[in-house]
């Protein structure tokens, strides 16, 4: 016969030593790298499991149950921390079965129905000494459910879990008292304090539930749940998340001001909660408060650049990380924030579009500089989920447009700031990169058809020929604008001509028809490549027409301007100048009609790149003067 008490003491000693070692690791101010931490954890886990196997090697005993359940708790905490959830679940149920067998002698079948098992376990709870241990294990089961997003199961047990938190918290106080009295070697130590764990689980559950409900569109229910959670004690970061989610609920319920309040609260709670800042920026945008939006963007950008922003939220006391438990997809989408570069781009664009050109230009230059910096941009800010290596991490965020597009936008902005030479440098750079890749001819397909067939002509090489052509065209257009700005009409004509020559290579193919050169009578959808093509064509023809006008080649000018108006009817400048040319040619009534037409308000063009807007860089016509001329002309 073995000596049960002696063995039990040995095992307890072993358990306590392991716990102390693990606590040292987490107490030791994070000097170890993540890899080393993981290794230590793995080691501890295997040691705990070894110990557990030893203990479970003897038949279940009433004396050893307390110790066994404690060791099982420790082992499972380590297992969960390594995201091996099914293993943990298995160990938990095994340990409980053994414990109940020892005390009551009857078996509780697990079968496949875990909730039923737990129900029966909770019902049979009577022994108070064992009670606390079993509740601790229930905590872990809760963690597993949370980590695997089984919120429905959690909801089933809501009452039990609620009472569990209460008893554990109450018991925790008692435990604490007794711990100081008794020596630590008398009781098996636990890796984490169950009270803290329960509280932590409670807040995490609230957050996940809130996010899920929000995603399902149950904003008000989500809000009430979150409001309850605000009263819970929680780590700073998690409390901030609660506020943030409440804000999102308000935003969804179209209470933007309340939402802003909540986001502000979140930021006050945890300054690193950049997602709140981002969401408030979005609300300002929605409200049309451009100045506030720009301000928010600026703040967001500077916060993202802070080194602390990239430090993930750390659970200070125990190995269970918030990132392990907060893994719901909808929560992640709530918490995600675009990269610093993308924010900077947004900021620059917003500034330029809202009459803060010089500021916008500065931001654009910052953006270009950081794009050319030595640092690889693979290193970007990390959100919570980045703790786990995930393949999609680097793929999912790039709302940042292609580099040539940024160059061209920056060029346009710089031109708007009346720095034509800088703009020319940027455009030349784009052209030098793309010119070698220009296709001899290009067939544009109807985007709808293309999406049906699913073949896109990007090619294995990763060069989108359409895009290349359009970028190059835009660069030539901008060059033309620059020369217009410098009043170098000849050069301007050259560059506009290059742009036009490039654009006529493009044929458009509609289902069932031969490829043809796109004409004005086609219905052009906005935002498509075809739209951009037509717009480019219109602008370049207009530009050339204006240049010809300045060179007094009125015939050519008239032809170009008419073509421009045909290609792109919304182009205001072309119509005005067309009228001007007609006027000069003596066709005054036609001119007047042209001018009248241009003053009819047209639907503003949205969603076009900055460089495809009509820049007020060239010679302008004063509309009051034109109106005067019409009046002088008198009725026909």
């Amino acid at each position: 016969m073995y000596q049960p008490t002696c063995l039990l003491n040995e095992w307890m000693k072993e358990n306590n030593e392991l716990v102390n070692k693990l606590k040292q690791q987490y107490g030791g101010r994070d000097t170890l790298s993540r890899d080393q931490n993981q290794n230590r954890l793995r080691w501890c886990s295997s040691e705990f499991h070894k110990l557990l196997r030893k203990i479970q090697g003897v038949p279940p005993l009433a004396d050893g149950t307390h110790l066994e359940l404690s060791v099982a708790f420790n082992a499972c905490v380590c297992t969960i921390a390594q995201s091996q959830f099914t293993d943990a679940e298995l160990h938990i149920t095994q340990a409980i079965q053994r414990a109940l067998q020892a005390t009551e002698g009857d078996l509780h079948p697990v079968a496949s129905d875990l909730p039923a098992f737990w129900k029966s376990v909770l019902k049979s709870l009577g022994n108070t000494a064992l009670n606390s241990c079993l509740l601790h294990l229930l905590c872990l089961q809760w963690a597993v459910w949370l980590a695997t997003c089984r919120l429905k199961t959690i909801q089933q047990f809501e009452v039990d879990l609620f009472s569990l938190v209460e008893t554990v918290c109450a018991g925790g106080e008692d435990d604490r008292g007794s711990k100081f009295i008794g020596r630590s070697s008398d009781t098996p130590l636990l890796v984490t304090e169950p009270r803290k764990l329960a509280e932590f689980l409670q807040i995490c559950t609230s957050i996940t539930q809130g996010a899920e409900r929000l995603a399902e569109g149950l904003s008000s229910e989500a809000l009430s749940g979150l409001q309850k959670a605000t009263s819970l004690s929680a780590p700073r970061a998690l409390a901030a998340y609660v506020h943030h989610l409440s804000g999102s609920c308000f935003a969804r319920m179209s209470c933007p001001q309340m939402a802003l309040q909540c986001y502000r609260k979140a930021l006050e709670t945890d300054s690193r909660c950049v997602c709140a800042l981002y969401q408030s920026m979005l609300i300002y945008r929605q409200l049309g408060n451009t100045q506030a939006e720009i301000q928010a963007l600026r703040l967001l950008h500077s916060t993202l650049l802070l080194p602390s922003a990239s430090v993930p939220v750390q659970a200070d006391v125990h190995p269970l990380n918030p990132s392990l438990l907060l893994c719901s997809q909808s929560l992640n989408s709530q918490l995600s924030v675009p990269s610093a570069l993308s924010v900077l781009h947004n900021l620059a664009l917003k500034c330029v579009l809202h009459e803060r050109v010089s500021e916008g230009v500065e931001y654009y230059l910052d953006l270009l500089a950081s794009l050319h910096s030595e640092d690889p941009h693979g290193a970007r800010t990390k959100t919570l989920t980045d703790m786990q290596d995930h393949l999609t991490d680097y793929a999912k965020d790039t709302p940042l447009p292609g580099l040539p597009q940024i160059y061209l936008e920056a060029g346009a902005a710089i031109l708007m700031a009346r720095r034509p030479f800088d703009c020319m440098a940027l455009c030349n750079e784009v052209i030098s990169t793309t010119v070698e890749l220009l296709p001899e001819r290009l067939v544009l397909e109807d985007p709808e058809e293309r999406s049906e067939s699913g073949t896109r002509d990007v090619g294995a090489e990763g060069v989108d020929k359409e895009a290349v052509l359009l970028w190059t065209g835009a660069a030539y257009l901008l060059l033309g604008h620059c020369h217009t700005h410098l009043k170098d009409w000849k050069q301007a004509v050259t560059h506009y001509t290059r742009c036009i020559n490039l654009l006529v290579k493009v044929h458009f193919k509609k289902k069932g028809f031969q490829p043809q050169i796109p004409s004005a009578d086609m219905v052009v959808k906005q935002g498509t490549n075809l739209c951009i093509l037509q717009r480019l064509k219109g602008l370049s023809l207009a530009g050339r027409g204006i240049s010809f006008t300045q060179m007094d080649k009125l015939k050519e000018a008239l032809r170009d301007l008419l073509l421009s108006v045909q290609a792109f009817p919304e182009c205001v400048g072309a119509e005005l100048w067309c009228g001007e040319v007609l006027w000069r040619l003596g066709r005054k009534h036609e001119a007047a009609a042209c001018w009248e037409k241009s003053w009819i308000t047209k639907s503003p063009v949205e969603d076009l790149p900055l460089y495809l807007r009509e820049l007020q860089s060239g010679p302008s016509l004063d509309s009051t003067e034109l109106r005067q001329r019409i009046q002088e002309l008198g009725p026909v």
């Binding site: 941009h377 290193a379 990169t433 890749l437 290349v468």
Partner: protein
């Protein structure tokens, strides 16, 4: 290829770990870094041709990169990445010239220089200030980016990491998968032409690529951002690209070779774009070569062309220069011309054709006839314009390979070219001849060894067969056997007995080199005297060739007079050592072989008293000579002789004369009929009575051990009296007398009397009497065994009586020799009745 490569061995690093891909990296100035798969990094100075430094790391080193200023090296080993400054370390060691004499200084690299604690790093690449680490996790390839440490800080900052899921390991089996973890993935960095201003800034595994191809392969964004692109050739065959400085960039699979990528590089520089490669090359392990070029078809758009061809594999390692790809298959170093000679200016129609042509060229690489290359370092042009490669052979030899110069004036001087190419052909033929003759000699020596082994086996079987049939009386004599002769010689007033052993080869096989005749001599009685340590002596005589019919004589000293106990057993055997089959060099590599040999027993012979008697030439019977011994034991024995001589006499029927009262004697009686049958036929055809005695004595004395003739001569025997006087090996005088006696005369009960011959041994030394008695009995027993079956009844009777007598005599002689005082011995002569 015309001409030959000159290969020069610079250093030897010992055998390489087969599972590891070794690496040579040109370092600062003439320094080279050599990785062999061990824990050490060797710094080799190629100018001084010596190892200047050995850096010892805590684990197996997997890769090494150098900082662009060549001041620092980053070394990845199993526990992480270390940053070391070899220059600094070298200067530090030179300050302490304590151990300059004992080879290059070895430096232990401590964990102080550990900058990144990432485990299992397989490859490194340094791009600017970014250090890339490629490692292999459970299910992914992980590319981690670190910022190289500032001078004051000691660890690197993690900038980010990219991962790529592992392609299922089903392609390769488990062994390969295990091996694969040590195979180094290829990491190189490609710059667009416009990115870096000059070629000089490039270090190893960085390449300039022509801008169009760069854009086509890696996109406009990478070109516009002037981002270097990391290319990564994985052991699962994929070729991945990663633009380093592009927001949101990720690892993209460019192509899959479907076999482990061994090498990735950029090549083909034409006059139109000097300094910039126009072709990216990737080489797979089984010889698949991927060329990535800009395709410029007629009227079409430029596109990146992926041309896959196969060359004879397996490719072990590779290297490129401006025009050529060099790769090693292990058995040869091959050169592949990548340049398109006919491309370019002539017109676009030809382009397609030239492309096809280039692929045709790709199919036939030229062998450079350098084998066992397992790592190559970039080709460099030396002062004379020759191309020079550095290689590490499988055996760990660092070699400098100088390629033959290219002929640039091939078309201009056809006749000169023909002459030269003829010369080159001749030299190539010479080359081949050399190799052929080397192969021939190898085959020849192998054949020789096989023949030799065949002989050895034949002989072994012959001898084993002999040994098995030894129990039966041999019908014919053994084909390989030993017999011996004894001879006394006197040297420096000391008599010594020499044994001449004759090895006779009457078999049809040759005993060749490698055989050794081993002779063990030990006293027969030693086995009975357990208290003494056995005094066996071993002699071995290696010999070269013993053809059929030849004999080999060897002599060995058996004993000095007086200090050996007879009879002695001589056991002969033949030894064959396996190591003699192979040359010395091979034997040193197989330490187990050195001690292994075959031992085959030949025959065992006995040298008894009769063999070692020194017969007096004169027929003296002076009795005083019996008393010359000065031995105190002998004196003691003499004083007591009266006591036991009586007892002895009871055995002897006819006692000695009065004057020789104190002599011991023993008598053996043998049927004269038998003797006549056996002896007279060959000894004395007359068959006279005295002749019979004489021939008996003669036979006794002349028979050498093992059938050879003894040292005695017949004329030493007194023919009239058939008495032999002799001296035993212990110096005692003995008298051997043979006389014919009619038994029937005495015994009246018997009708036909039996004529017998009595052999009497007389000596004052009991040991001599015992020994001689034993020897004579042995002879007669042997004689009887060989006697024909006729008169079997009586003969069997005799032999039955003889055998126990012989046994007794053997025991007595054995006990009498060591314990002379124990004289309570009864000698009984054996009568044939």
């Amino acid at each position: 290829m015309e001409g030959r490569c000159s290969v020069e061995t610079l250093a030897d690093f010992g055998f390489l770990d087969a599972s590891f891909t070794p690496k040579i990296t040109p370092g600062f100035g003439p320094d080279l870094f050599v990785l062999t798969g061990s824990d050490e990094v060797y710094v080799f100075n190629s100018e001084e041709r010596k190892l200047t430094l050995v850096l010892q790391f805590p684990g197996p080193v997997s890769d090494l990169v150098q900082s662009p200023d060549k001041q620092l090296i980053y070394v990845s080993c199993s526990s992480g990445v270390y940053c070391v400054s070899p220059q600094l370390l070298l200067s530090r060691t030179q300050n302490h010239p304590a151990d300059v004499s004992s080879g290059p200084p070895e430096l232990q690299i401590s964990s102080d220089s550990l900058v990144i604690g990432e485990e299992g790093v397989l490859s490194l690449l340094l791009v600017g200030s970014v250090l890339l680490l490629l490692s292999h996790r459970d299910t992914l390839w992980l590319l981690s980016l670190y910022k190289t440490p500032e001078p004051e800080s000691s660890s690197c900052e993690l900038l980010g990491s990219f991962s790529l899921p592992l392609v299922s390991a089903a392609v390769c089996d488990d062994d390969e998968a295990k091996m694969g973890t040590r195979r180094r993935p290829v990491l190189i960095c490609v710059h667009s032409v416009s990115t870096s201003p000059s070629e000089e800034t490039l270090v190893n595994s960085h390449y300039h690529l022509e801008s169009v191809l760069f854009k086509l392969l890696f996109g406009v964004d990478a070109a516009l951002a002037k981002s270097p692109v990391v290319l990564c050739g994985l052991p699962d065959g994929r070729l991945c690209s990663l633009p380093l400085r592009l927001p949101g960039s990720r690892l993209r699979v460019l192509h899959s070779l479907e076999q482990p990528v061994v090498f990735v590089g950029a090549s083909v520089v034409t006059e139109t774009a000097p300094g910039h490669a126009q072709c990216l090359v990737a080489v797979g392990e089984q010889g698949r070569v991927l060329l990535m070029k800009t395709e410029n078809p007629e009227g079409g758009d430029r596109a990146a062309g992926f041309l896959e061809t196969c060359v004879p594999g397996p490719a072990v390692c590779g290297s490129v220069d401006k025009q050529h790809l060099y790769y090693s298959t292990g058995s040869d170093l091959l050169m592949l011309d990548l340049s398109e000679k006919s491309s370019g200016r002539e017109g676009q129609e030809k382009n397609e054709e030239s492309f096809r042509k280039s692929s045709a060229v790709v199919h036939s690489p030229t062998g450079l006839k350098v084998c066992r290359v397992s790592a190559l370092a970039g080709p460099a042009r030396d002062a004379t314009g020759g191309v020079q490669l550095l290689s590490l052979s499988v055996r760990g030899q660092l070699q400098k390979i100088l390629l033959p110069e290219e002929r640039k004036d091939l078309s201009s001087h056809p006749s000169a070219q023909v002459c030269r190419s003829a010369g080159d052909l001749l030299s190539a033929i010479g080359d081949v001849c050399e190799r052929v003759s080397a192969l021939k000699t190898a085959i020849k020596s192998k054949n020789q060894i096989l023949k030799h082994l065949n002989q050895v086996l034949n002989i072994s079987f012959l001898l084993i067969e002999d040994a098995n049939t030894e129990d039966q009386p041999p019908k014919q004599e053994k084909q390989i056997r030993c017999h011996t002769r004894t001879r006394w010689s006197r040297l420096l007033q000391k008599d010594s007995l020499n044994l001449t052993c004759v090895l006779e080869n009457s078999s049809s096989f040759i005993l060749e080199r490698g055989w050794t005749l081993s002779i063990t001599v030990f006293p027969v009685s030693s086995s009975l005297t357990a208290g003494k340590e056995s005094s066996s002596t071993n002699f071995s005589f290696p010999f070269h060739n013993l053809c059929p019919g030849e004999t080999l004589d060897v002599s060995l000293p058996l004993a000095a007079a007086g200090d050996a106990s007879f009879p002695m057993r001589v056991s002969c055997s033949l030894l064959f050592s396996l190591s003699s089959l192979l040359g010395e060099q091979e034997v040193t590599h197989l330490p187990g072989l050195q001690s292994s040999c075959i031992s085959l027993p030949l025959n065992t012979l006995t040298v008894d008293w009769l063999h070692v008697l020194q017969v007096d030439i004169k027929k003296t019977t002076t009795s005083h000579s019996f008393y010359i011994e000065a031995d105190p034991i002998q004196a003691f024995l003499n004083s007591h002789r009266t006591e036991f001589s009586r007892q002895v006499e009871t055995g002897g029927r006819e006692g000695p004369s009065k004057t020789e009262q104190e002599l011991f004697s023993a008598r053996i009686r043998v049927s004269s009929e038998l003797l006549r049958d056996m002896l007279v036929s060959d000894l004395n055809p007359q068959g006279s009575k005295s002749g019979l005695c004489l021939s008996l004595l003669d036979w006794l004395l002349s028979e050498g051990p093992g059938g050879g003739k003894g040292g005695q001569q017949r004329d030493k025997i007194d023919p009239s009296s058939s008495v032999v006087h002799a001296r035993g090996p212990n110096g005692a005088r003995v008298k051997l007398t043979a006389m014919e006696v009619k038994v029937g005369e005495e015994d009246t009960g018997k009708e036909d009397s039996l004529s017998t011959v009595d052999v009497e041994v007389e000596s004052s030394s009991i040991a001599a009497v015992c020994g001689l008695h034993h020897a004579v009995l042995r002879r007669i027993q042997a004689l009887m065994l060989s006697a024909p079956q006729r008169s079997a009844s009586t003969k069997r009777l005799q032999s039955l009586g003889l055998r126990p007598a012989l046994q007794r005599a053997e025991i007595i002689s054995a006990t009498a020799e060591p314990t002379r005082t124990n004289v309570d011995v009864k000698l009984k002569t054996v009568d044939e009745s």
